[in-house]
């Protein structure tokens, strides 16, 4: 049997074969990802026909993946017949979001209001939870509040680095009480399960739109920073596939036929 020379142009190492070999390997490497890109691309192209923006996905594992899960538990206070809670910057009234505020350190109920104290402000809510007013440091006896409670005459009292101050229902004037009796300071309670569930649902919103999820898969962002790079490399691979295929079809096959 004749030994073929190593670099025999009629053998397996001629340029066209080498190109085809790499073309195939590249195709195999990125094939699966390309399929996903094409499928998601098709959906995105017809996002309005499929109404993708209005389809909401609320699967817990997906919401967790997107970080739509609070890192801490809500802190709740009883106020009259209601529950006022705070979770990661948002104030909730009976489980419904109301406004943004710093961490709540106490809530008391007066005949007309729920009085919510954070470190540097007081929020007044009507009995139905509607926001009546937000008091900034300009309207408080001190820019730092440490606690809130009710005094023996049922008037609101706040604890500050300068001591205790009381006010009346208008919250217009603060005074240092004389002969202060015991203050019933507001304390956190265990968040009732139904309230906690409401808060979690409100925190997560309506879930994610299908459009958003498919777009993120299409761009690779679904898988974080690495996903973005893999998407980019896949596209580069597709470009190389196209170029190598064209080169083979236009140049190498012709050359082959001539020879």
């Amino acid at each position: 049997m004749q030994n073929r020379p190593r670099n025999n142009k009629n053998g397996r190492n001629r340029p066209s074969r080498i190109l085809l070999r790499w073309h195939r390997r590249l195709g195999e490497a990125i094939g699966a990802i390309l399929l996903v890109l094409c499928a998601t691309g098709l959906f995105l192209n017809h996002s309005e026909d499929f109404n993708l923006r209005h389809i909401r996905i609320q699967a817990p594992w997906l919401l967790d993946w997107y970080g739509l899960e609070p890192v801490s538990d809500p802190v709740s206070y009883s106020s009259g017949q209601s529950t006022v809670s705070w979770l990661e910057g948002t104030l909730y009234f009976n489980g419904q979001p109301r406004t943004e505020t710093a961490a709540v350190l106490g809530v008391i109920a007066t005949p007309d209001l729920h009085v919510v104290a954070s470190g540097d402000s007081i929020i007044l809510l009507a009995r139905d939870g509607e926001l009546v007013e937000r008091l900034t440091s300009a309207s408080l006896p001190h820019e730092t509040l440490v606690g809130i409670g009710i005094d023996t005459t049922q008037q609101p009292a706040v604890n500050t680095p300068l001591g205790i101050f009381t006010t009346d229902d208008s919250f217009l004037e603060w005074k240092t009480p004389v002969n202060i009796g015991p203050i019933s300071w507001s304390k956190a309670i265990d968040t009732p399960p139904a309230i906690e569930q409401s808060i979690l649902e409100a925190y997560r919103g309506n879930g994610l739109s299908a459009y958003r999820v498919i777009l993120d898969i299409h761009t690779g962002r679904f898988f974080g920073d690495w996903g973005k790079w893999i998407a980019d490399l896949t596209v580069i691979g597709l470009i190389l596939l196209t170029l190598s295929g064209l080169y083979y079809a236009v140049f190498l096959r012709k050359k082959q036929r001539r020879s």
Partner: protein, 159 residues
């Protein structure tokens, strides 16, 4: 503890003290009742997020601590109105990541002497800042709001 990163340029308390000196007047309250609520909404484009607003008054001067959202976060602003014109407008707390240039006097000084026209606009255009458009608009709205509230307090707002 702040809920989000914020730059406090001056506390509201310090602004009020600075505005009135040692004679800081007692606080008063103005309720956003139906008519006034509509006018406020016409200026802001939405309801003010509370039923009442607190202010300080000495003679023809009133001071207001108001908030309005720039892009996504509220900008806390102190405004003093004197005889129907803005005397001072100051950004007290800024919470956005962009547009903080509005805190500088070169911008806020434009509001000095501004009054409200019959159509509830400022009597002169405020020059904007590139990259801070939403913050500029927010402060314009607050300037107009303070002037409207001042008119209401003094009974000057006849319609």
């Amino acid at each position: 503890m702040a809920t989000y990163a914020e730059d406090v340029y001056q506390s509201p308390e310090a602004f009020i003290e600075e505005s009135f000196g040692e004679q800081t007047p007692a606080q008063k309250i103005i309720w956003l009742k139906q008519d006034l609520k509509k006018k406020v909404k016409a200026i802001l484009g939405h309801d003010y997020p509370s039923f009442r607003i607190r202010y300080w008054q000495a003679d023809r001067r009133t001071a207001w601590i108001l908030e309005e959202i720039g892009k996504v976060k509220p900008i806390t602003t102190g405004i003093v109105v004197n005889a129907g014109k803005i005397q001072t407008l100051k950004v007290l707390v800024y919470r956005e990541t962009h547009g903080w240039e509005v805190k500088y006097p070169f911008f806020t000084n434009q509001f000095k002497g501004r009054s409200l026209t019959d159509s509830k606009r400022l009597d002169r255009k405020i020059d904007g800042i590139s990259g801070a458009t939403l913050s500029v608009y927010a402060l314009e709205r607050l300037g107009r709001l303070a002037l409207l509230l001042d008119q209401t307090v003094h009974g000057d707002d006849a319609e």
